[in-house]
């Protein structure tokens, strides 16, 4: 491969990695709140597809992409409240409640899409968020196309990494979230409303997941498709555990998962013949390894997946 081609390949690889890691990063950041408060939400996948549809429908019928973003966030919030109700109010098993949410979300989105748009030969499309160029910064060779040629949602997501870290580490609310996840009983005795904090964290997780879904439909693909989330919600769950509930590490984990994906696509497209399945499976293997390393040190929030009830031990 000539030098120029090699540089082009690397640029498209790195820029692609950043772009494709965003719909993993966003739900993962949200799940950091949720899991820190003690709730494992396996319904992210379902919330994301609901977000993808709401975002697309909102943008399609109003012509405003930002209204699409708004509807996706609201839809994510509302839909995640089902998870909150089942796992906090009813104290149901979270794995089962999350499974229900994923099935429900995936099917509901597909159903509503068919009802709203009917059966078409060509899918309805919109113009998604354009790339920014930061007053010409995107023209800088190599650096420009990699870092300064994305749409606004990408930078919003990167800002949310900092924001999430700030909320969890530097605010009273963050302290309460961690208290509720680690020592719900003690938190309760200090007057922190365990149920309320958990509801808020599930809702925040839903908003981030909704936004992540919207990124797919109105920030990446220009359209809605039934299978467009393609397991990213579950990947987000493993990113959260891989990054050990830390927003900064979640960014790197999302880049790793995204990078593996882009690398296999790019390698395939230039005809490099290595089994791409191993590349795709690698992040999952790493997650298990991290999980084993983490679990020994018991870094999980102590009340992880355990419903809180004043009456029981």
């Amino acid at each position: 491969m000539s030098n120029n081609l090699y540089i082009d390949f690397m640029i498209s690889l790195l820029a692609g990695t950043i772009r494709i890691s965003i719909p993993i990063l966003l739900p993962a950041l949200g799940q950091i709140y949720t899991q820190r408060s003690g709730i494992l939400n396996l319904g992210v996948e379902g919330i994301m597809i609901i977000g993808a549809l709401s975002g697309f429908v909102g943008a399609f019928f109003t012509g405003s992409l930002w209204f699409g973003v708004f509807s996706a966030v609201v839809a994510g919030l509302l839909f995640s409240l089902i998870m909150g109700f089942l796992s906090i109010t009813i104290k149901a098993n979270q794995v089962i409640a999350g499974t229900a949410l994923t099935i429900l979300g995936t099917s509901l989105a597909s159903f509503l899409y068919r009802v709203i748009f009917g059966i078409r030969k060509l899918p309805p499309i919109i113009d998604s968020f354009p790339s920014l160029n930061f007053l010409g910064l995107s023209k800088i060779p190599v650096i420009g196309p990699i870092f300064f040629n994305h749409n606004i949602l990408v930078y919003l997501a990167l800002f949310l990494v900092f924001f999430t870290w700030f909320v969890l580490e530097k605010t009273t609310f963050g302290l309460k979230v961690k208290a509720v996840g680690e020592f719900p009983r003690a938190a309760d005795s200090k007057g922190i409303r365990v149920g309320l904090i958990r509801y808020i964290c599930v809702a925040i997780g839903g908003m981030y997941a909704g936004l992540g879904g919207a990124f797919m439909s109105i920030g990446y693909m220009d359209t809605y498709m039934d299978h467009m989330i393609a397991g990213r919600g579950f990947i987000a769950v493993s990113v959260v555990i891989f990054s050990r509930w830390d927003p900064k590490r979640a960014l790197f984990a999302a880049l790793l998962f995204g990078g593996a994906n882009v690398l296999q696509m790019r390698l395939q497209s230039i005809g490099v013949n290595i089994p791409n399945q191993f590349l795709l499976a690698l992040p999952y293997v790493l997650t298990i390894l991290v999980l084993v390393g983490v679990s020994k040190k018991v870094a999980f929030p102590s009340a992880f997946t355990i419903p809180y009830s004043r009456n029981s031990k």
Binding site: I103, L104, S107, L108, F111, P275, Q277, A281, I288, L291
Partner: protein, 353 residues
């Protein structure tokens, strides 16, 4: 006589919530259908007809019931022990891979090769399950996450196999293995339909599962599920039973994979299990983790899946309605706790006054 009445009364008590959950799920989905301009009654009638309308359709429903039933039984073993095995898809897939590997590549007489392939499938499932169990028991690695990760890892492994080392050399590059020898396939029970002898295997497994919960091991597993402390105090090794439970729980989906390969697929293809694993979770729950309950729940869900596509074809109702019904069923099964709490509160109130 009294015992029979009592038994059927307790059974009715167990069945009632599941029937109610299905009823409410169908009712709510019916509203959704109505609101979107479909006739719910006609849609449901078409769905029922698609699943049971004639011998061929009923046979298809049963064919689909077999894997759902067996995977759900496996899931229920783990759930009883409060281990949340959501790896049904991966475990089904390893079973199928082992089955085809032995059937295609081991040149032994059929009467040895068939049982050998079944053993290989079971062992493959047990290795995955045992691994997850060990990680949980020794390293405290959350089994929800490990089984979920294994689903993906195994999915890509299968994809690699059918695109690489196990690809059919005469398959024109299609991502699939060669067919297993015809003589090894499970025979059809009713000529002209795809219903095969796997049905009897499934029924045998149901009986075994039923008996299993009455054995000492079965009791110990549910004891560990009730409380680790109590189990430990009664001299039951929690760690050992976690590993054992996961091995049994993963072996059953692997058997389902074996049956489907020998009964219908005949070869490996990408993403063999589809959504079986998820459906099995719903079924195990709806069946109250009870083998008999799971039989009916799996028949119901299989009918939804088979009838759902007929409904889509003839009534124009999107197939995804089936998923909505599934999701709602779980939600309502969970919600029965609210009702029970309400009853409890009322009882306490009556006692106080």
């Amino acid at each position: 006589m009294n015992i029979i009445i009592k038994r059927s009364k307790t059974m009715a008590k167990q069945i009632w919530p599941s029937v109610l959950a299905i009823f409410f799920a169908l009712l709510l989905s019916g509203f959704l259908l109505f609101a979107t301009g479909h006739n719910p009654l006609r849609a449901y009638a078409r769905l029922f007809d698609g699943a049971f309308g004639n011998l061929n359709r009923f046979a298809e429903t049963l064919v689909k019931t077999i894997p759902i039933l067996i995977i759900a039984l496996g899931t229920s073993v783990a759930f009883k022990c409060k281990l949340w095995n959501i790896g049904g898809n991966g475990q089904y897939t390893v079973g199928a891979i082992a089955a085809v590997a032995v059937a295609v590549y081991v040149p032994l007489p059929y009467f040895i090769r068939i049982p050998l392939s079944l053993v290989a499938s079971i062992v493959a499932g047990m290795i995955i399950g045992g691994g997850v169990g060990l990680l949980r028991a020794k390293m405290n690695a959350n089994e929800v996450i490990t089984t979920l990760m294994f689903n993906y890892i195994i999915m890509y492994f299968l994809s690699w196999l059918v695109n690489g080392p196990m690809m059919d050399p005469e398959g024109f590059g299609f991502p699939q293995t060669q067919l297993i020898p015809d003589q090894m396939k499970l025979q059809s029970i009713i000529p002209g339909t795809r219903l095969h002898f796997g049905l009897f295997l499934a029924l045998i497994i149901v009986v075994v599962a039923f008996i299993f919960w009455k054995t000492r091991t079965g009791f110990r597993i549910s004891l560990v599920g009730e409380s680790h402390e109590v189990a430990q105090a009664s001299g039951v090794s929690v760690q050992k039973h976690i590993v054992l439970t996961m091995m049994i729980s993963a072996a059953l989906p692997a058997i389902a994979g074996w049956i489907d390969v020998f009964g219908i697929h005949g070869r490996l293809q990408e993403n063999l299990p589809g959504e079986l694993g998820t459906i099995a979770i719903v079924v195990a729950l709806l069946g109250g983790l009870n083998p008999i309950g799971i039989v009916f729940a799996s028949l119901f869900f299989s009918a939804l899946v088979v009838g759902g596509s007929t409904m889509q074809r003839f009534e124009g109702v999107p197939y995804s309605l089936v998923g909505i019904i599934q999701g709602l069923v779980i939600v309502f099964v969970i919600c029965r706790v609210v009702y029970e709490e309400f009853k409890e509160k009322r009882r306490v109130k009556q006692l106080v006054h």
